[in-house]
Symmetry: C2
Subunit: 317 residues, 2 copies
């Protein structure tokens, strides 16, 4: 059942011992949502904690500085920024898939798996929706919550760069800065800092750059071998996905990321008028109009062939 | 004489045949200011036009789509985002240096050369100040003005990434998006598009990367030879200045850019606690706390030596 912000707030008001789940391979939005909501509920004297199926990278540790992690048997489960139970991560999918009481999300592709879903696909980040829920719960904002919400806004919109950064996104960002969000430091950590291993991986990936269809599509590949050579790993890979689309004339940029099992995770970034979600849907994936993803079988040449034939079809449409 | 927003608006209200000057080697803020103010004054039925000593790159052409360029003998001259008459560019410095009636700026280093100066060093971009002047003039905002103001906000704050992007910056951005600013397209043009020649120049410049002082300083050099090899030129150089600071542990990132006359233009980007403006002041330059610049004599080794001895002094302070 779809519910609105007020109904979600009323629902949460009546609950306690609340487990909040982020998606696996966590990013700034799902974690910002999780810890902002958790801190907000704790400020209302509820027991709540955040869990993630995968390890959370250290760079996010400022998100839970002032968030407690109480032990309890969950009586209510909320998934934040999780469009599909598959995205909870393997361990959590089997444990929680049919037990989610409330999902709060901004992905138009949400499969409505939860008992109740608060979905606002016009939000640039799920943190915008969490902000509204916290307001409806009359939670007093503080610097910890502001850091969390700001992180989601900034990371999901490429630091306010993409079309999903709306006037509302900017207004919430302004309020979060007024509440003490350390915006410049957060952006420095999220966008301005390249580890030496990432810098090496980026160089290797860019060496693999290939252009197709008169320069309208560009592909980079990240292989397990590149992780070994650079000392990097999959957790550092995400920013590379946006590089191919930056080259002038490119409408579809793609990153093929080799998994340990030999399959490929594909990240698509597009410019108008190409719909990334529609392109990925052809390959059983999904996402947003300008950023989406899917999985393809290996080996690399087979994955590329399938990807390119779908890109071709979309460019010709 | 320093004046406030209201006084600047009253002053402009009483004038006509207004020439607006941007700084030379123009950027998104000085041009956004110029064309926003020009369009605003034209909407108040005044004659006004923008001039720049240097050629304006084509990518900015959307800023004057709906701005007229009437011919008249100026009776009032406004400089926007110009901290020093030297920055007007050679041709304009000799012609206009002692004739500027009003300067509107956000550089703390402004030398107060104009008859009257509206200076707000807390503004992330001079476009924030222009926005307030247009409000005080009761100019009705439109999509053209919104594109101009948004461009200044976005380009001068690294797309809202740096510490100069305040709550006010975000609130004005929100209002500009509501007024029709095409934010995503502007950011795509300003931040997301690499020409093939720029991409080649970037690769050459990164090959010159040197680290000093236990990795706390990083230098890249851009030479005339690199322009020849890449097919690029100085107009594409700016984004390279921010790359050295991105490497983890770097507090001072510098780009040395070889000019045709063999001197070097130095662009400094710092992280807290290093003050870029103070560093550049030691070398007769200036700017902002995190981004500043200066000129050094060649040859390259001499320029590097002078730069490094000043960086060393600042790091040891």
């Amino acid at each position: 059942m779809r519910i609105d912000v007020k109904a979600a707030a009323r629902l949460l008001e009546g609950q306690d011992d609340i487990l909040i789940l982020s998606h696996g391979h966590p990013d700034g939005d799902t974690l910002g949502c999780g810890f902002a909501l958790c801190r907000g509920l704790q400020k209302l004297n509820k027991r709540a904690r955040v869990e993630c199926a995968d390890e959370i990278p250290d760079k996010y540790s400022y998100l839970w500085r002032e968030v407690e992690r109480p032990d309890f048997v969950p009586r209510f489960i909320v998934a934040v920024d999780v469009a599909d139970t598959k995205l909870l991560g393997k361990a959590f999918e089997s444990r929680y898939a049919d037990q989610i009481d409330l999902c709060i999300d901004h992905h138009g592709s949400n499969i409505l798996y939860a008992e109740r879903t608060l979905l606002d696909a016009s939000a640039g980040a799920t943190c915008e929706v969490i902000f509204e829920v916290l307001k409806a719960l009359h939670v007093e904002m503080d610097a910890q919550i502001a850091d969390c919400i700001y992180t989601g806004l900034s990371t999901d919109t490429g630091c306010f760069r993409y079309s999903n950064a709306t006037a509302r996104t900017h207004r919430i960002a302004a309020e979060m800065i007024d509440c003490g969000a350390d915006a410049a430091i957060i952006n420095q950590v999220m966008f301005e800092t390249k580890t030496r291993t990432y810098a090496a991986l980026e160089r290797l990936a860019l060496d693999s750059l290939e252009m197709y269809f008169d320069g309208r599509a560009a592909l980079v590949t990240v292989t397990q071998e590149m992780y070994r050579l650079s000392g990097s790993d999959e957790s550092e890979c995400d920013p590379i996905a946006s590089l191919p689309r930056q080259i002038e004339g490119v409408l579809v940029g793609a990153m093929l990321r080799e998994k340990v099992d030999g399959t490929f995770k594909v990240s698509i970034r597009t410019h108008r008028p190409v719909d990334a979600a529609a392109l990925c849907k052809r390959m059983n994936g999904g996402g947003h109009p300008r950023a989406a993803g899917c999985q393809l079988e290996g080996p690399l040449e087979r994955a590329k062939e399938e990807l390119l034939s779908n890109i071709k079809a979309v460019l010709e449409a």
